[in-house]
């Protein structure tokens, strides 16, 4: 296993975790649907459907962060330390989520059920939009420099320097927000599909979910097409390190379009993914007996997200372009861990299928019997 092979492998794993995270954001999407759901029983069903999966999304976020840290520490150092407010707001929204399910209906919860539901709503909106913003920066860049020799300057030792607004500029960049909004409406659509799959509730609620899937799915399609149009026409950085570790960068028009063509498997994944998402949403909306839309849409989402990571990182592309100093941009070559660490981590990653297997088994065991309002009266619930 060469270093280059290991870097490619770990970028692939990061893309798998990122795609799993975006799929699992249906939990956040479901939380945003509390607004606009008037019936207490329907609200309770939404909360309890999402509440049995929230920890999986939360954990995937943590593992995504941990895997990125272990495999591409220069990204962790540059992005988290630089876009401070972007990440802090994401984290804060997950902090308030973590207690809300468990505490919302417990007596003595101090803040009242409405406040905890508001926390869930905030996490749903902020989590989806800002994670979309964070991923969009992989294409549209950020205002930073990396000078490793700064570590020897006692007065100002930080190697990654960022603009003065520390992430707010990324949040208020309309290009980034378009992907953020697309992720939000994708998550809401998938929440509808997931609930149609796991709830054994009344036809009226299911019908309303199908209707909401249509509206949210429509908005998602508009925004994601907008984002893809921008992406495919964007100028990207072709970046190659020389023998002395210096990055030589060329600005390449239509970089990501070329990447999709040259990395044909990424283009294929994008196409299959888009079709699968549209099929999952479309058939759920128009075929009243169809409940498996979440799996088509989920797998499609995963393929689309993975393809985005692939065109961002593979093909000598800078996956974190620096607008202030192109030579400071991050590539999977110049930001990765050492060959030794990547190799150790690769051995650990052999256990991933085992982890996925027990998650799938537990998911199957828990969702085999559909969740009903009756169950909420008798068993442990949120």
């Amino acid at each position: 296993m060469t270093l280059e092979y290991l870097q490619n492998y770990w970028w692939l794993l990061v893309s798998v975790l990122g795609s799993a995270l975006v799929f699992l954001l249906f939990v956040q999407g479901g939380q945003t649907m509390l607004l606009g759901t008037r019936s207490d029983e329907d609200r309770s069903l939404i909360i309890n459907a999402m509440g049995r999966k929230w920890e999986l999304t939360f954990t995937t976020l943590v593992v995504f962060g941990g895997a990125f840290f272990a495999s591409f520490p220069l990204f962790y150092s540059t992005s988290f330390g630089g876009a401070y407010w972007l990440w802090m707001l994401i984290l804060l929204s997950f902090v308030i989520q973590a207690v809300s399910y468990e505490y919302r209906r417990k007596p003595g919860n101090v803040l009242g059920t409405g406040t905890y539901d508001l926390f869930l709503f905030i996490n749903g909106c902020v989590g989806c939009i800002l994670l979309g913003v964070a991923v969009s920066m992989f294409f549209f860049g950020a205002d930073f420099t990396v000078v490793k020799s700064n570590v020897l300057d006692s007065a100002s030792p930080v190697i990654s320097q960022w603009g003065p607004t520390h992430g707010f500029e990324a949040i208020f960049n309309w290009k980034n927000l378009i992907l953020g909004v697309a992720v939000l409406f994708l998550a809401r659509t998938q929440a509808c599909l997931y609930m149609i799959n796991c709830l054994g509730s009344d036809p009226k609620f299911t019908a309303s979910l199908r209707q909401r899937a249509l509206i949210n799915g429509g908005i998602f399609v508009v925004f994601v097409l907008w984002f893809l149009a921008m992406l495919l026409t964007a100028v990207g950085y072709t970046a190659v390190s020389n023998a002395y570790g210096e990055l030589e960068v060329t600005l390449t028009p239509y970089k990501y379009f070329h990447n999709y063509v040259n990395l044909w498997w990424a283009g294929l994944a994008l196409l299959i993914g888009v079709v699968a998402v549209l099929y999952g949403i479309g058939r759920t909306v128009f075929d009243k007996g169809f409940r498996s839309g979440i799996w088509y849409s989920g797998i499609g989402t995963a393929l689309v997200v993975m393809s985005l990571f692939w065109v961002a990182g593979y093909g000598d592309t800078a996956y974190y372009p620096s607008l202030a100093d192109p030579a400071s941009s991050l590539t999977i070559r110049n930001s990765s861990s050492s060959e030794f660490t990547l190799k150790v981590m690769s051995f650990v990653s052999i256990l991933v299928p085992f982890v996925l297997a027990y998650i799938a088994y537990a998911w199957y065991s828990m969702d085999r019997k559909k969740l009903t309002p009756k169950e909420l009266e008798t068993d442990h619930h949120y």
Binding site: V62, F69, S77, S149, T341
Partner: protein, 518 residues
């Protein structure tokens, strides 16, 4: 104070705040998870409805605590990136691995099976449910293992070498990182202290049932399990505490000196059991160290080296580079002034390397690299302006260490009493004094547990990586106002959630005391 130091200090405050809050909940998760699993195992074997009710009651309290533990934990991992970004690059190659493994192998296990544990009673078989409860407890413990491996590595950096081309450290021995003696001692010490804390919690809540004359049998059953888990926890915490002290003496002698307020060491060094420090005492001056003390002869030599006739260096000895043999002969070690010089030479060599690399001068790069390797063990001292900077806050380290040990001693007595009463004198629980003693022990065990971490973390200052990188070189280039704002945000949010958690717990305990047990 300049802006750099303001950012460093507030980043430290923020990390301390989040870590202290997190550790309020984690030990209870670690111990209560095991206790609940034991209770469910009894239910599984006996099929007694009473044990099912007991299990579900404690499981409910576990869930309330778990949620806030998760909420406070997520910040800690990401703070290494947000607030300590230089650190994340400088040693991310080593430090990132245990965090990733924790998430992959432990956190997923916890998150997957906790859902089965709470919602699966009627959805999965009893055997699968019991397995899920144990796997939740094991997942929490494995999670603690990898986090403590990461923490131990900061205190005892092994299994790595410096790569001047990338200006960072890279791992060269994973097993040395994962199974260093410091990591193993830290793991057992921290996890078993969680068992002890949870034992106190279970006994105290059960004592409240006794105090109110409600569900006596359930309370007594819970006390027995909590008592045994707690007693095992405190005994093994003491054992691993001793081996941790041996590690500290070997790897962080300055921390050990601060823990004891020791400025001038001796062969056959006494151990100060209780003492009041002179707050005006500074390194190098001739003032008395203590206002008052009670000491055990030879105690520190035995604690640190398992041998009463060994020398334990004090703060001034370490700064000056002096050790004594048992015969009283002076041995020279590397003084702190020399360490600073060597550290600065390492920085200069790295600068030369960087310049040679920019000029593509391979020979000059090789020459510089040789010097870097020679001086690297003291690289971090190159950032220090004076030897005093390398001395941790003695007062806080000394008092937190002594609080931990004294309170730990009380916990040993407490569990002896709890088990004695549970098996031979159950009527003691019907009187008021034993329940009241249990209530008073609740704050004691939490303070004891936090004091342990304060000793470990304050005592290693100023290092984020022992001898290699001080805090002030590890930070992010963010404004002080940003860190101050997030500090207060977290302080407010966590405090509100803590109040909510305690209030919910209290209501559930009251409800549990009134439930009808089969």
């Amino acid at each position: 104070m300049n802006d750099l130091m303001t950012v460093v200090d507030w980043s430290r405050w923020q990390f301390a705040l989040t870590a202290i809050y997190h550790w309020l909940f984690v030990p209870l998760t670690l111990g209560l998870g095991v206790i609940v699993a034991i209770m469910e195992s009894i239910y599984f074997k006996t099929q007694s409805q009473r044990w099912l009710q007991i299990t579900k009651f404690w499981m409910l309290l576990f869930g309330i605590n778990f949620a806030i533990g998760v909420a406070t934990g997520i910040i800690l991992e990401f703070e290494f990136g947000t607030n300590w970004s230089n650190y994340s690059w400088f040693v991310g190659d080593i430090f990132g691995a245990p965090l990733a493994i924790e998430g992959l192998l432990a956190f997923f296990m916890e998150a997957t099976f906790i859902a089965v544990m709470f919602f699966g009673w009627k959805k999965v078989s009893p055997g699968f449910h019991l397995a899920s409860t144990w796997l939740t407890a094991i997942g929490a413990t494995l999670s603690a293992f990898w986090i403590l491996v990461a923490n131990a590595w900061m205190q005892y950096p092994v299994g790595m070498e410096f790569d001047p081309a990338q200006m960072r450290n890279v791992m060269d021995n994973f097993w040395a990182v994962a199974f260093s003696p410091v990591a193993l001692n830290k793991f057992f010490h921290a996890v078993l202290s969680g068992w002890c804390l949870s034992g106190v919690f279970v006994v105290a809540v059960s004592c409240w049932f006794m105090f109110k004359k409600r569900n006596r049998e359930m309370a007594l059953d819970s006390i027995k399990i909590g008592g045994w888990v707690g007693a095992a926890g405190i005994l093994l915490t003491f054992a691993t505490g001793h081996s941790s002290a041996v590690d500290v003496a070997r790897t962080q002698p300055m921390k050990l000196a601060a823990m004891e307020g020791l400025y001038r060491g001796e062969v056959g060094q006494e151990l100060v059991a209780v003492g009041v420090l002179n707050p005006d005492k500074k390194p190098g001056d001739s003032q008395d160290v203590y206002k008052a003390k009670i000491a055990l002869p030879y105690g520190l030599s035995i604690l640190a080296n398992n041998d009463p006739n060994t020398f334990v260096p004090g703060i001034d000895d370490l700064i000056e580079g002096i050790e004594l043999t048992p015969q009283g002969d002076t041995v020279r070690t590397v003084s702190y002034a020399e360490r600073i010089e060597i550290g600065k030479a390492a920085h200069a060599a790295l600068r030369d390397y960087d310049a040679a690399r920019a000029a593509h001068d391979d020979q000059a790069m090789k020459d510089a690299e040789k010097r870097i390797r020679e001086y690297y063990p003291y690289f971090g001292y190159g950032y220090l302006d004076s030897v005093e900077e390398a001395v941790p806050p003695v007062g806080m380290t000394f008092y937190s260490f002594h609080i931990m040990v004294i309170f730990g001693g009380w916990l040993l007595c407490f569990f002896a009493l709890v088990l004695l009463a549970a098996y031979w004198k159950p009527r003691w629980y019907d009187s008021q004094w034993l329940p009241i003693l249990a209530f008073l022990t609740v704050p004691i065990v939490w303070v004891c547990s936090e004091a342990g971490w304060i000793t470990a973390e304050v005592g290693r200052q100023p290092w984020i990586i022992q001898d290699i990188m001080p805090n002030k070189a590890a930070i992010s280039a963010i404004s002080a106002s940003s860190v101050i704002t997030t500090f207060w945000l977290f302080a407010i949010v966590f405090t509100i959630f803590l109040i909510a958690e305690m209030s919910i717990m209290w209501r559930q305990i009251v409800k549990g005391s009134k439930m009808k047990i089969s």
